[in-house]
Symmetry: C2
Subunit: 255 residues, 2 copies
């Protein structure tokens, strides 16, 4: 706790983004209890692997600043299966799963808050409502996976890319990091290709296509979106599945 308070002073964003995705469903008191669960704030370099597939861990990690991706590898080929923005509890999974089935890697430098598993255990025993919110946060990941499966099954590469950037923009907006006209990201075209199941060359063709249509201009980490609504329409992007404000939003009733 002390360590965390110190870090909090040093990195004023830390507190702000804690459980960004859940903030609408948490009482002020729960928010404080969640912050109390944090034992330390840690920095990582670009490319760092926070957790590797098959490892056990005693901590779970909340992303405070930066971008992270979940990856799986097969025959030396990397697949990116999801990504995370500040405010996401990136590996709460490894609390209940113990051994994780995937890797979590930093894209660009990142700051994270660590939550020891014994504090989560204590919460499970003491605080059913907060437990349920933590559970919810992992189910949200599953819902994002499902949406992404659908998009892989239905969309062409340019539309997949449009969908990814729509989602990133929207999720950044949900934690107060959005700009209406775009955002900056450490993702490369080749990372995006690995998210789409396309080759980097084909992803590049798709980016050129989106540029020609004036839907999305991506250059060296700078994403410019001239018209958000048009991009969403092209990608068939409907943000309900993010469980933000839309149809599916979580009710704040008590457990």
């Amino acid at each position: 706790m002390i360590a965390f308070e110190e870090e909090l002073r040093r990195y004023p964003n830390t507190g702000r983004f804690l459980a960004g995705r859940l903030r609408h469903s948490m009482s002020q008191d729960e928010r404080l209890r969640l912050e109390d669960m944090v034992s330390a704030v840690v920095h990582h370099e670009a490319g760092d692997r926070i957790i590797a597939r098959g490892n056990t861990c005693d901590n779970s990690t909340m992303l405070v600043e930066g971008f992270m991706v979940r990856t799986l590898e097969s025959n030396g080929k990397r697949s990116i299966v999801s990504f995370h923005v500040p405010g996401d509890f990136v590996d709460l999974h490894c609390f209940a799963l113990k051994r994780l089935d995937h890797n979590i890697d930093c894209i660009g430098p990142a700051t994270v808050a660590q939550v020891p598993h014994d504090r989560i255990k204590a919460t499970m025993a003491d605080d059913p409502h907060l437990s349920r919110l933590l559970w919810f946060s992992t189910l949200l990941d599953a819902a994002l996976h499902r949406e992404w499966i659908m998009k892989l099954e239905q969309l062409t590469t340019p539309r997949r890319i449009a969908h990814i950037f729509s989602e990133i923009g929207c999720r950044l907006g949900m934690v107060g990091l959005g700009r209406p006209d775009g955002f900056d990201t450490p993702l490369t075209q080749s990372d995006v290709a690995d998210m789409c199941g396309a080759t980097a060359i084909h992803a590049n063709r798709a980016f050129a296509d989106l540029r020609r249509r004036d839907l999305l201009i991506f250059e060296r980490g700078r994403v410019h979106i001239p018209d958000c609504a048009e991009l969403h329409a092209y990608a068939d992007f409907h943000p309900d599945y993010l469980y933000g404000e839309g149809d599916l939003a979580l009710e704040t009733e008590d457990a």
Copy 2:
């Protein structure tokens, strides 16, 4: 409870498959407590929609007999994002999510056990270890989603189909429903196509391809697998992600 006991006598498989996936991690006592959570056993016809996207529900459903799929729809096009075999807790998600982001549909007739949400709430308050197992069961769905995202990103249609059938065979085996040389399923080629993000025509080509290679013979719901190991190799199928007996298997330590 009474209702359930009656049904249990009438359908002797009911108890056998309860929480099939979790059975190795549960004590006998927990198993009984889980069975106590069941309020009723219900039958469904082929094509029935158990839960529709956007609905709330007071019950969660455990699949006792039959096959089910999770579907999402966009522009009238159906995507199947995952499937379930007996022993799976198919919509525990809607306990923590409240409004579900997807549909759950029966493929062929099905028997399910219903678990009221207030009993799950009680479990969350009383029994941290069983709660954690329930949580685990939903995280398992997320792990399956991730594997499937990777396969969509990496494999051609024939290999995707080989992977799906490898997984089904394996999951049936894990709950004692396997045959070494194949299985029966109410899935049609067109269902499988919707799982792969391919057209039914292309799926048919892929089935012909698999038949020619003598890896998998699928005809009218009858799946014959001449050599399981060869099919797995062709599909690059490694069942660790099912969290059965492999590297990643859940430890049975207490919460």
